[in-house]
Amino acid sequence: MDFLITLVNGLSLGGIYAMIALGYTMVYGIAKMLNFAHGDIIMVGGYTILLFLPINPVLAIVAAIVFCVIVGIVVEKCAYKPLRGSSPLAVLITAIGVSTLLQSLAQVLFGSAPKQQMVDLGALKIGELSIGYSTIITLVCSIAVMVALNLFVKYTKTGRAMVAVSEDKGAAQLMGINVNFIIMITFAIGSALAALAGLFYFLKIQTMTTTFGALPGIKAFTAAVIGGIGSIPGAMVGGLLLGVIECIAQSIPALSPYTDAIEFSILIIILLVKPTGLLGKKRREKV
């Protein structure tokens, strides 16, 4: 019975990781860059929610999504677009710079002291079992978001254009696809997912700091690499897997101090066995 609760908790945490990992993986697949500022978009979402929560919870969620999308697009336009076509290392350093900028900006605006806000949604009790409603909502929402994203990529023109751009940017452009617009949409979707992840992660830890997004960000990046970076289903599988592993490790007293070590060891093992990640495609150069 305890194991069932651990599993549900794990899937719920995994859902959060998966939503963040989707942002990493989509941006990597389409713009071919690692957006290390993605974790800080989660933090932006978290603070927006904190700011608007006293007014109205629904408004807070909408505001967080809208604001994160705006921040995501502005960052892309100002920091990454001028560097398109330059060396990947320059873009990577810029992403780290953006990350520091966002954290420092949050520190200036909100101060460095952690802010706590208790949000208790109650718990579902079935006999002996008790699962928090926030866990259930997280799980349901993250699955809904993943299904919706899959449908979007498969069945819309924009989705098809995104796949085409990730396959061959140059050829897609010469077939009349506006690559800049597709990259903008990708950042917008990634940031909206980050805002939702920020909401659910906040419900889980209920404390807001300027480095709020760092840990889930790095875990989600691990999840994206485990699943095969660039692959959308891979990010989902990797995220859920990592969440479940984390919760199982935490529920066993002997293992709980080593939770992070276990997660990252699994990353190393998977990369040794399958360097492209679980669902990543092998690229063979044809001669």
């Binding site: 979007f152 023109k157 924009t158 050829a171 010469l174 506006n178």
Partner: protein
């Protein structure tokens, strides 16, 4: 401090507003009887004059050849015409409208489509979806993201229309049977054909083919010649092609231009140009 900040912000906002409200300059147009006209087109990389002083005049429904030894700058001309490179000298007109300085996708919307020397299909997409990517940017298949997201009737209508058109195109190239295979699993000759089909799907006025017969056996080459003639007649198309196979060029092209070291050696009908002493010298030496 706060005042200074708001002032800077205001300035930035004004700059953005000015940029948004600025109307695009009307593009220069000239009187032209030609589909494509280039005017001393050229590009310099650093100090290297890769291509200079290219004057092409291509009539409607013509099949025009661009030939020359390796490194003569043929593909560079294609890259200039499709907006991959910005010309440093000269300019070019499509149907009298200047296209220099437009983005690659804008030039494609204006009516120039191309294939690549090394095949660049969307390998992990099916054959029919490859063609649909070409189709989807045309005004007649317009359907907003909102309509797609909420599955409004127009979404299904445009999807159906695009699929139908894609199938028609594939039928012409004999690829209908393979439409649900992944593009990377097609044999080489069919990948070449699919690339042409995808380019045609963008509804161009001018089709650029970069070495369409490369790596083909004599039967496939003959078949390709028929296909290109069929495209010209059926789609009312003008074709500019790069090719090394001189038999292919002399059998197919109405007129040709010979490039060497980035400059035009000669131009004219295939027979005349290929028998020109300079051309023979460039290809086989003295």
């Amino acid at each position: 401090m706060a005042n200074k900040f708001t002032l800077t912000l205001k300035k930035a906002l004004d700059a953005i507003r000015a940029k948004l409200s600025k109307k695009p300059e009307p593009r220069k147009t000239i009187e032209s009887d030609f589909v494509l006209e280039t005017e001393s087109l050229g590009i310099t990389f650093g100090g290297l004059k890769a291509v200079q002083n290219v004057n092409l005049k291509i009539k409607k429904n013509e099949i025009y050849g661009l030939i020359g030894p390796n490194g003569a700058g043929k593909t560079t001309v294609f890259n200039l015409l499709t907006g991959v490179y910005l010309p440093t000298d000269g300019t070019f007109y499509l149907g009298g409208e200047e296209l220099k300085g437009l983005h690659q996708e804008q030039i494609n919307h204006k009516g120039i489509a191309r294939t690549f020397q090394n095949i660049r299909l969307f390998n992990n997409m099916t054959v029919v979806r490859n063609v649909m990517v070409g189709l989807q940017n045309q005004p007649e298949y317009k359907c907003s993201l909102f309509e797609s997201l909420f599955r409004l009737p127009r979404h299904f209508k445009t999807e159906r229309a695009m699929r139908k058109r894609a199938k028609e195109l594939l039928e012409i190239f004999g690829l209908l049977e393979e439409r649900n295979n992944l593009a990377c699993n097609l044999p080489y000759g069919k990948q070449r054909k699919l690339e042409i089909a995808r380019a045609l799907a963008t509804n161009p006025r001018l089709l650029l083919l970069d070495e369409p017969a490369a790596g083909m056996n004599p039967n496939e080459t003959a078949d390709l010649m028929d296909t290109i003639r069929l495209i010209r007649d059926k789609f009312d198309m003008t074709v500019l092609l790069i090719e090394h196979d001189l038999k292919f060029v002399s059998g197919l092209c109405d007129r040709i231009t010979v490039l060497n070291f980035g400059t035009v050696l000669t131009e004219g009908t295939a027979q005349d140009a290929l028998n020109h002493p300079d051309v023979i010298k460039a290809y086989i030496g003295n």
